[in-house]
């Protein structure tokens, strides 16, 4: 049998091209393209990732446990950076503070506290703000008016002032015996509650736009419960701006936490955050022990700046009008 191509041509089944893998999709996306083309964002991403990783892994990778009195040597106090303690074999990359704690290790543990408070507070503000924003934008009317008036009033005051007030009130309400253990949650509550209005306003605006669209009308005609419409249909469509505000809000929350701790109304001294460390370091600035202040301050600035830059990039990348 001759192999005549004319007669025996196999009809090849049309194989649809394999859908690219998730990684491929991510690498080909517009987001990745804009990320790759912004050197500042790349640096910011790696800085933020490194700081977050170090904070998460602090208990395992920190050279010393700065809060274990057994390993502390008071005589090592004020050891300058890159040198060995005078009375022990401990070597201090960033020097030691007044209690002989390794500054490098306290920073690792401190950024853990700062990040935890910042992230939890942002999450709280986001949940509250998105919830109220959805309710406000979808219902309109009196609910909308009341929520937005409260947001207006709150937005005209600086967040730090509101957080301070909430903190003071909570302090008056909690019995003194529990103040120490509750302090971190009070702080999260105060910072979160001082930042919800941003989210609520943005989500309200976006919800009002989405509400007019046909898919919402269709869902409503089918008799879907309003709560389900909000959560399943509208929420996914308003999440873009929420992500942007959330990222920038995280940077703000970290700074707010540091400021409150610096003012002495933040986390208890037994769990120092970066702000507390700066507060401690400030006392020794005049006597020339600059490293106790300098390194925590640099860490805080790097953390806030890199998260902030990421937020800026996200805003530009998610906004097709700017492209």
């Amino acid at each position: 049998m001759t192999n005549d191509p004319m007669t025996t041509r196999q009809i090849e089944p049309v194989i649809p091209p394999r859908p690219p893998g998730l990684l491929r999709q991510a690498l080909d996306s517009d987001m990745f393209y804009s990320w790759r083309n912004s050197p500042v964002t790349i640096v910011a991403t790696f800085t933020a990732a490194a700081l977050i990783l170090v904070a998460l892994l602090a208990p395992w990778i920190a050279p010393y446990n700065p809060f274990n009195p057994a390993t502390l040597n008071l005589m090592d106090g004020f050891t300058p950076p890159m040198s060995e303690g005078a009375f022990s074999d401990n070597w201090f990359l960033m020097g030691a503070d007044h209690q002989g704690r390794d500054v490098f290790s306290t920073i690792m543990y401190g950024s853990r506290v700062s990040l935890f408070v910042g992230a939890m507070a942002t999450l709280f503000a986001m949940t509250l703000g998105v919830g109220l924003g959805l309710a406000s934008g979808y219902n309109g009317g009196t609910i909308d008016a009341v929520i937005m008036r409260i947001a207006d009033i709150q937005l005209s005051f600086p967040a730090i002032l509101i957080a301070l007030l909430i903190f003071g009130v909570a302090r008056g309400l909690i019995p003194p015996s529990q103040q120490e253990s509750m302090a971190i949650w009070v702080l999260i509550f105060a910072i979160g509650l001082s930042n919800w209005a941003q989210f609520a306003r943005t989500v309200r605006g976006a919800t009002m736009v989405e509400r007019q669209k046909d898919y919402v009308a269709a869902a409503r005609i089918m008799g879907v419960h309003p709560a389900l419409i909000l959560l399943r249909h509208i929420l996914p469509n308003v999440l873009g701006p929420v992500l942007v505000i959330g990222t920038i809000g995280l940077a703000l929350a970290i700074i707010e936490e540091a400021t409150l701790s610096f003012l002495g109304v933040g986390v208890p001294p037994t769990q120092p955050s970066l702000g507390t460390l700066i507060r401690i370091g400030q006392q020794y600035l005049f006597s020339g022990e600059w490293w106790i202040l300098f390194f925590p301050a640099v860490t805080l600035v790097l953390l806030a700046l890199s998260v902030n830059l990421l937020g800026d990039w996200l805003r530009d990348a998610l906004n097709p009008k700017l492209r």
């Binding site: 009033i153 005209s156 007030l165 302090r171 400021t259 610096f262 003012l263 109304v265 600035l285 202040l293």
Partner: protein, 327 residues
Amino acid sequence: MLALIIRRLAQSVLVMLFVALIAFVMFRYVGDPIASMVGVETRIAEQEIMRDRLGLNDPVFMQFLRFIGNAVQGQFGISYRLQQPVSELIMSRLPATIELAFASATIALIGGVALGVFTALRQGSFATGAIMAASLVGVSLPTFLIGIALIYIFAVELGWLPSFGRGQVVELGWWRTGLLTESGLRSIILPAITLSLFQLTLIMRLVRAEMLEVMRTEYIRFARARGLSDKAINFGHALRNTLVPVITITGLQLGSVIAFAIVTETVFQWPGVGSLFITSVQVVDVPVMAAYLMFIAFVFVVINLIVDILYFAVDPRLRVDGGAAGK
């Protein structure tokens, strides 16, 4: 015009009532006012008599009305910590904060406008890039770090300026001013700069954006065609038209300046209202906290009202449309 002002006034009163409610709830329910006044040895029966005499057993609404009545007269009770009338405490510390706020607002306004004009005119030069980058970093730096950095450079290393306090003060009636002595003037420089930086970057960016916008308009091109000098065009025509929003923003920001002074006052141990507030938050001195809240809210509301009315007076377009555009 009158209707607008009345509506604005009504809104302001509503906001103040809302804030007063919060302050009252704080005042009444955070901690026990009686417990903070009496010692451990006061009998419960005596405490009840006190409670009755102070009206703490009256209906809550009556108490709220009395609270507002007292607040209008400037009475906020006695500080738990210092055992002095709160209004006296605040008044004695107010001059320090107001002087600081105005000094920093002046710096922010002059510096912000100058830098804004410069960066708008020298578009693309190296200095502009540097200033814009610095302003970005400046915005993300926490205020207290800027203060500490300034203290370290100018007080510790160079030893030029004092790092804390107000220096020598002069009594002018009840107003205690630090602006008339040399040490007082030297003391205000660092805190005022610290406090001004954030507003300065804000004003700078605003002026720059507005200038760039105005420079593209027809009347600037026409002014150039008429052969006017660059100086006359830049300052007489362009800058002048950017100033209305700038003044609005500066006015609106004055309230935030007073509130942000909390941080600056703590860093520089400036004896103002902000540091009073911080210490009262630390020891839960509720009357002071409540009074400070009312005070700040009052400042904000008054400033907003003035700015609204000024806007109306400055911008004739709002007057033509009447209520619709004035909202």
